[in-house]
Subunit: 321 residues, 2 copies
């Protein structure tokens, strides 16, 4: 088993939703962490508590700024790069068509190049179930093909995966690629539950849900997600690692809408726009196979999609009190 | 069956090896062709014979020049974009690490964006067996996964595929993605046979082969490849098309070396560098499943990899007389 204690870990997007939870898990394991984040969606308060530590550094900069990126990594003895930075708003990427390309494919390429130049030998990448597109096999295993993403977010994740595997092979870098289910939990700042709560705040009498309510997705709690990332990293002896990170089931959007309404605005009427997809590029039915992850001994605290979603609803309810 | 007659077809890389053969096939079918090529590896003499035609246009420009690209496509009533431009030198892409990223991922993104802006509704893309990386299933079918390319060329092809499928879904563009075996034949300017002949010209007594000679690859003749592309386009009624284009077998590098030596320098001694790969990023054993292609009624003139390779050796022999 590899240890993270004393390792120099460089986390892109480390002030973001998943990144900040990952940084917390890394710090607990005794890793020295450098967060590289442009704070476009990340928040400084998510990592504030680490900033007084000697073994923690924060660089506010963009991954498209190659000079700053190289300077942040070079000569720092980085052991492991964990690349999480990305545009978090999948539907926005449909309107601003170069957003995911730049923040996804180009950014990942830049991080890999910087890692290569700084002789980093380990790389972890947060990919997504979005690479599968509309999969015909469910639950979808890691070896599913062909991969035909339907969003520019998914395309950018697939592009990034390809560069990770190629850099790995060519330059002797070991990798963990994690394909996330929908991640929910602490420090979350976007997604379906937030949308619902925001809409109900504006109009407590009605909740308009994008889609027909039948979209079903797999959810995973963000702490579980971060723990699974590190635990797979620690336990794997392989150079090439590809894992779905997911609970073993799905939760339906109409079900989430009901739970949110129950909690925040009991009298609200739920209406549906009626389309099959919530938005262009939305995969209405995501269900990932988690057997490979489980075979590594990963155990989730929030075992079902419902557990993970309800936990976020609890968090939001507390914040609003 | 769709007809290409009178269709406005925009071919990137149309002055290149495969591109120029494709343009010939398109012209024969009565398509109006615009070639967009920066002539970095393409050659004007490959398309010279078409330039007097009224229904043919040539634009010498780079795909990274978005302004010229948009101008070349916009308002021209383009029905179908066939995107073939790419860096043809896979091993060079290992040394100049941003070459394939720019000429692959970025260029493809630019072409898709230009097509979207010009309201083009059909897109064809020349992908490669390189997307499969070191596949464990052989012959490798289109639905093989996970895709883990080992060259930056392969990564760029995979990245491009992802953007093609996402643009298709989001903006109502139908697509044909073709994953080529090693393409050989007329207008070829690089590759193993050329390398061998070049080496033998410099030293007719010895041929140093990169690798241990055991690399085995699937080859397809370029005319067959171009015909297969068009024939699948014409015959498919699907919006999403993904096809391996290949013969049904492989030819070993040592076998090719023997044939080249027999033809050009009978007394040369063949030596091997002895590595398993010919170069970093080389996939030593590529064998594609061609059943899907055959199910569309595609028939190859050069039925085996050997037929395709021997045809190129014949062509080279003729040129040297």
């Amino acid at each position: 088993m590899k240890s993270l204690e004393g390792k120099n870990v460089f986390v892109t997007g480390g002030a973001g939703f998943i990144g900040s939870n990952l940084v917390e898990a890394l710090v607990e394991k005794g890793a020295h962490v450098t967060v590289y984040d442009n704070l476009s969606s990340g928040k400084i308060e998510f990592i504030d508590k680490f900033r007084k530590r000697k073994d923690f550094a924060f660089v506010k900069a963009d991954l498209l700024d190659v000079e700053k990126l190289n300077a942040a990594m070079h000569g720092k003895g980085i052991d492991l790069v964990m690349h999480l930075a990305a545009n978090p708003d999948i539907s926005l990427g449909t309107k601003v068509t170069d957003l995911d390309f730049k923040q996804g494919a180009v950014a990942t390429y830049n991080v890999l190049e910087a890692a290569r130049k700084s002789d980093v030998k380990e790389f972890a990448f947060s990919s997504s179930s979005a690479v599968y597109g509309i999969a015909t096999v469910k639950p979808t295993p890691e070896n599913y093909g062909p991969l035909a993403p339907i969003s520019l977010y998914g395309a950018s994740k697939l592009a990034s995966e390809g560069y990770v595997t190629a850099f790995s092979h060519l330059f002797g870098i070991s990798y963990c690629i994690y394909r996330f289910a929908n991640v929910v939990g602490k420090n979350s700042t976007h997604g379906v539950i937030f949308d619902f709560v925001r809409k109900l705040s504006a109009n407590p009498k009605e909740l308009l849900v994008l889609g027909d309510g039948n979209q079903r997705k797999a959810y995973i709690e963000v702490g579980d997600c971060a723990d699974a990332m590190l635990s797979i990293y620690e336990r794997s002896n392989e150079r090439e690692n590809l894992f779905n990170l997911t609970t073993r089931d799905q939760m339906q959007v109409s079900d989430i809408a009901n739970e949110v309404v129950n909690r925040f605005a009991k009298n609200a009427k739920i209406k549906y726009t009626g389309t099959k997809q919530g938005w262009p590029g939305d995969v209405p039915d995501t269900f990932l196979d988690g057997k490979k992850m489980e075979s590594m001994g990963v155990k989730l605290k929030f075992k079902t999609s419902r557990d993970a979603v309800m936990n976020l609803i609890d968090i939001v309810a507390k914040t609003r009190k």
